[in-house]
């Protein structure tokens, strides 16, 4: 195709435009467009650039407050951070490219969002992300996770901007369409913010950064279409990132911004040269004349169409004051970057593009930028889920009693063989165990709830056969059925067994494997690294700090878009409050399916309206954002995912609270009311496969009160640690605090009934705090004076989590379960480890190699040369929690002891 190709309906369709839209283009042009002009319209009117399905609803979001300097509409939003400081931030999606080519897709997403922020005059000071992948065990997940994580790290690490947090979820709803949302926060001087309005005629239009190639042509159109199985063929439309060039571009831009040279600046992101020039001209109320022969080109023979639609990365378009051109050129030459005057601003109101001496396109600017269709797509909400009635499960157990006049060890061998060889393999059996007392072996067999009569009789027969063959004297099998309310107890498990299983699952397991691949301490101002409720960075050279978080709970949004939208905003408010930050404003990335389907559009509208209500009630406006629609593959939409990025300010960095700093002896106190809301809880989903019921409602007044109270006690009382309560409820939050602190926790259930609902329910607006015991009464009193229920839950200390004095879980075991899940999921399939037993002397030698000052005593626990206990004293343990001490030793020995490590019990002490 050439610029002179006649426009056919097929070509219009290939450009993602409807016949009606094409007619509108003809009307606006007053003639038929040529191919280049059509291409320019197609990207400017794509969903990605024009927000044509979302605009009318986005306008419902509150965007103003006294501290908002610039709301949505620019490259990023700007808030006042006190003194001379402004904070500039935005979040953006790079979903489709990341699914096709995870490394480059994620890397260029990070690169793009950083450009949005430094275009406005800010130095990026922190990155965050919100990632959603398919089921943890889906065939593609490992490849996508490792590529996306490496891509985010590869770009952000090279830029020298710390990635201080984010969220990662796994859900089968994203199997065919992952979400990669990247957020960047930058710091600028309030009176040095740069905008994109290219006011005035006769000023040079300057292109800086990388050369233009054929990569990413029509990326914005791709981002506005659904996927199918052939989508991988779209790989050539994924851009390739070059963080080195972007780092130079950042430094060069900031150097130029210190001079009085720039009239307007805009990054070339989606739709590259087209959208940057059109938006700058439209905002300035003028026109651009551009000569594409002057555009720095990476490839030969590029057409005007290719250049205008390329999404090559690391490029910027600027309009300079004419007298500053030479100064600017010198700065970019110093940084080794292209600098080319490619045009001039005009007062024609037209975008005129010439190539090879000919005018190839001449389009009036206003229709391109402002006249894109604004659809009111039909939206039809499905029925709302009702609150979940307390669910019950039927526990079916079989007790097999074997008797014989045989010694204990023989009986044990018979029981063990029956369980191992027969019962465990039966299809109707969930779990089995045994015990032998005198001449009797008792086998406890948990049957599946739906085990058939045949499956039960198979078990009976297996036991009876032992008696028939004379192996035992008698074999009896009793089958019993009990109905258990899941609000009272987790089926047949103990509360802490359920906790361990949830914390080892993909939803709640440690994300350390991910964030150790991100440089989170570069720039030397990181106060809270990933793993906290919010990431916190200090404003360099000051005593002020910025807190950042990303959050959304898609399962809530799916069950009730309005409540889910509210909850997403409220949860970020809670995250920020939990570290002591005053929540100021949000950005968002609204990821949904195909808006042309009324049920999807209803999700979108519901979420926005919920968000709007929460933003209003919490004085927490939206200052920037991005909409990503058509997240569908083969007609299956993702769960509605309005990811929220929240930013707050901490006036004195000393008043930052952490979740991992509880001390032995501290009291644990819950703030907020717990009704035991099980609908849409992780407890019901992870343990019982139920995703029924309405999500927990958010009382925005209570949310605000609790947030204000928590921020106040962080400033004014000696609380030692604070954690917000979210996925998994109080017990998970408490366990996370215990793990972080490396201290055990003795808990008492404060209710008589619905105990499991108390511990695992996901009621909103709650926090946990730890405080010295002598201060606890005072805190409870303060809370009640503020109208907030405070409940004492327990005391930190020791090596275990203990519930009501009977249920016990070792903290070290929980740490292992919690930490190992993701590394194991992400590990390449491995061969069996060496399990040769080791001599005590060898273990001592290995420990001394890692810790030369250590005093080591080894005890052979079972006398079998296979199970040891090591007592280690070393000054390396100073200032570290017991869990951290053990992990240091295990990591030091890893790979050297092979499979033996699990059999080494540790006792560590600092010396």
């Amino acid at each position: 195709m050439t610029e002179h190709t006649a426009i056919t309906p097929e070509i219009v369709k290939e450009h993602g435009l409807s016949p009606d839209e094409y007619e509108l283009i003809k009307t606006r042009m007053g003639r038929e467009p040529n191919l280049l002009e059509l291409g320019i319209f197609s990207v400017m009117w794509s969903e990605h650039c024009s927000y044509k399905s979302s605009r009318r609803h986005l306008s419902k979001l509150p965007t103003k407050a006294d501290w908002v300097i610039c709301g949505p509409g620019e490259n990023a939003g700007v808030i006042d951070a006190g003194d001379e400081h402004a904070i500039i931030f935005k979040m953006e999606s790079h979903n489709h490219p990341s699914f096709i080519e995870p490394y480059q897709g994620a890397a260029t997403g990070v690169g793009g969002i950083m450009r949005d922020v430094f275009t406005m005059g800010a130095r990026p000071i922190a990155n965050m992300n919100a990632l959603r992948f398919g089921a943890a065990d889906h065939a593609k997940t490992r490849h996508l996770v490792s590529g996306v994580v490496a891509g985010i790290g590869g770009y952000g690490n090279c830029m020298g901007v710390p990635t201080i947090g984010g969220e990662t979820n796994f859900d089968p709803g994203y199997n065919g369409n992952i979400l990669v949302n990247a957020m960047c926060v930058g710091l600028a001087e309030k009176d040095k913010i740069f905008y994109s309005a290219a006011r005035g005629a006769g000023n040079p239009v300057v292109y800086v950064g990388s050369k233009t190639g054929r990569d990413g042509i029509h990326g914005a159109t791709m981002a506005s279409a659904e996927f199918d199985d052939a989508s991988e063929e779209k790989r050539p439309t994924v851009q390739v990132g070059d963080p080195f060039t972007e780092k130079l571009l950042l430094e060069a831009c900031l150097e130029l911004m210190a001079e009085d040279a720039i009239i307007a600046i805009q990054d070339m992101g989606a739709a590259g040269l087209t959208s940057s020039s059109v938006e700058m001209a439209a905002k300035g109320g003028g026109g651009f004349d551009m000569d594409l022969d002057k555009v720095p080109q990476r490839e030969e023979g590029m057409s005007a169409y290719e250049m205008m639609l390329s999404e090559s990365q690391e490029r910027m378009l600027m309009v300079l004051k004419p007298e500053a051109e030479d100064k600017a050129r010198k700065i970019f030459e110093k940084w080794g970057l292209d600098f080319a005057v490619i045009g001039v601003t005009t007062d024609s109101g037209h975008l005129r593009i010439s190539h090879k001496g000919e005018v190839q396109a001449d389009i009036p600017v206003p229709p391109l930028a402002d006249d894109a269709p604004n659809y009111d797509r039909p939206h039809q909400a499905g029925p709302k889920a009702e609150p979940l009635a307390d669910p019950q499960v039927t526990i079916r157990e079989a007790l097999v009693t074997l008797t014989a006049k045989k010694p204990v060890d023989e009986m044990a061998a018979i029981a063990d063989a029956l369980v191992d060889d027969k019962i465990s393999a039966m299809s109707g059996v969930e779990a089995a165990g045994w015990t032998v007392i005198d001449n009797t072996a008792m086998l406890y067999v948990r049957l599946k709830p739906d085990a058939s009569a045949e499956e039960v009789s198979e078990l009976k027969t297996a036991a009876a056969n032992l008696a028939e063959t004379g192996m035992v004297d008698s074999a009896e099998t009793d089958v019993s059925e009990n109905k258990v309310s899941l609000a009272n107890q987790p089926g047949g498990d103990s509360m802490l067994t359920a906790l361990a299983s949830m914390m080892a699952g993909p939803d709640l397991c440690s994300r350390r494997w991910i964030w150790t691949q991100y440089d989170h301490t570069v720039m030397g101002d990181t106060v809270i690294a990933p793993g906290g409720d919010a990431g916190v960075v200090r404003v360099h050279g000051t005593n002020k700090a910025i807190a950042i978080t990303t959050d959304v709970t898609p399962r809530y949004c799916k069950a009730d878009p309005f409540e889910g939208g509210k909850q997403a905003v409220a949860e970020t408010y809670r995250n920020l409050s939990a570290v002591g930050a005053e929540p100021k404003a949000i950005t968002n990335c609204l990821n949904f399916g195909n808006p042309e389907k009324p049920e999807i559009m209803a999700q979108f509208v519901g979420c926005i309206e919920g968000m709007a209500e929460a933003c209003e009630a919490l004085s927490y406006p939206v200052i920037s954002g991005n909409v990503s629609l058509y997240n569908e593959t083969n007609g299956i939409a993702i769960p509605p995912t309005p990811a929220i990025g929240g930013v707050g300010i901490i006036d004195h960095v000393q008043h930052t609270a952490r979740m991992d700093t509880a001390l032995a002896g501290n009291a644990l106190i819950a703030l907020g009311v717990t009704r035991g809301w099980l609908g849409q809880s992780l407890y019901m989903r992870d343990l019982f496969g139920s995703s029924e019921g309405a999500p927990p409602p958010v009382d925005l007044k209570a949310e605000r009160m609790a947030g204000e109270f928590v921020r106040k006690i962080i400033r004014e009382t000696p609380v030692t640690a604070v954690h917000d309560v979210a996925d998994g409820g109080i017990l998970v939050a408490a366990a996370e605090m215990a793990l972080g602190a490396g201290e055990g926790l003795a808990l008492t259930t404060p209710v008589k009934d619905r105990k499991a609902a108390y511990w695992f329910g996901e009621d909103q607006g709650r926090y946990l705090v730890s405080i010295a015991p002598e201060e606890a009464d005072n805190l409870v009193l303060k809370a009640s004076m503020a109208g907030i229920q405070a409940t004492r839950l327990g005391i930190f200390g020791g090596e275990d989590i203990i519930l009501d004095g009977e249920d016990t879980l070792s903290l070290i075991d929980l740490a292992d379960l919690h930490e190992n899940t993701l590394p194991e999921l992400m590990a390449a399939p491995h061969t069996e480890e060496n399990t040769m037993p080791m001599a005590a002397d060898d273990i001592t030698k290995l420990i001394k190699e890692a810790l030369p000052d250590a005093d080591v005593e080894i005890e052979d626990l079972a006398g079998d040369g296979d199970h040891y206990k090591a007592r280690i004293a070393s000054s390396a343990f100073e200032g570290k929690s017991r869990v951290a001490q053990h992990q240091l030793v295990y990591k030091a020995l890893k790979g050297k002891m092979g499979g033996e490590l699990h059999a080494l019990a540790l006792e560590t002490v600092a010396k």
Binding site: Q517, Y518, G524, S875
Partner: protein, 220 residues
């Protein structure tokens, strides 16, 4: 006390190094652009971390051949103390001011996190501030930190007390858990961990502040 930080294209810990030096000396260091021919007359030079030249050939390889390095090498040979952190360590090996090479991490992934390091030799120009400490906690953040050298070199480094820091829990596969070494004259230290990132309790540690203070005190 005069100090300098060399800035290569895509150095990204240059400001962090400057902050740590200013905290230790009370004076901002000279920031010296890689294209210049000479380092000003200073008492201490730092090659900072980052991704000089994008690390596109081998980490540190191009930076080691940038114009400023001729003078850096001259000054190091004349005995001016020179510290290379992370990418700076990679530059030092590429410039052959230190033996060995930093290879891709054994686990192949970038690795960032706090590391407990054994202070193997507290009797160098650089470690006076760590005297009496058997261990320090410094963060690492690198993709190519796997120190390798032939056995003879490793034996010599150990024998001559030139291994300054060792990892307790080796994060990158480095031979003999080596995290930092000095040259034979003892005036050039290369290390992968970042002391400049732990210079305040609010940043999670102060071992780095003690480290820089010790260097400056030794020079005074």
């Amino acid at each position: 006390m005069k100090t300098a930080v060399i800035v290569f294209p895509a150095s990204n810990c240059d400001r962090d190094a400057a902050t740590a030096l200013e905290q230790a000396t009370g004076t901002a260091p000279h920031m010296v652009w890689h294209g210049e021919a000479e380092v000003p007359d200073v008492d201490f030079i730092v090659l900072p971390g980052g991704f000089s030249y994008g690390d596109y050939l081998r980490s540190g390889a191009m930076a080691a051949r940038s114009p400023i390095m001729a003078d850096v090498i001259r000054k190091a040979e004349a005995g001016v103390p020179l510290l290379g952190v992370c990418n700076g360590f990679q530059v030092l090996t590429e410039a052959q001011l230190l033996p060995g090479a930093l290879m891709r991490n054994a686990g192949l992934d970038f690795v960032c996190g706090m590391q407990t390091l054994q202070v193997v030799n507290d009797d160098t120009k650089f470690t006076g501030g760590l005297k009496g400490k058997s261990y320090v906690d410094f963060p690492v953040a690198h993709h190519d930190g796997n120190y390798e050298a032939d056995e003879e070199t490793l034996d010599r480094l150990e024998g001559e007390g030139r291994v300054v820091f060792r990892y307790v829990a080796n994060p990158n596969g480095s031979a003999r858990n080596i995290a930092g070494i000095v040259n034979d004259k003892g005036n050039v230290l290369g290390m992968m961990p970042h002391p400049e990132r732990v210079i305040s309790p609010v940043l999670g540690g102060t071992d780095g502040a003690a480290f820089f203070k010790g260097i400056i005190e030794a020079l005074n």
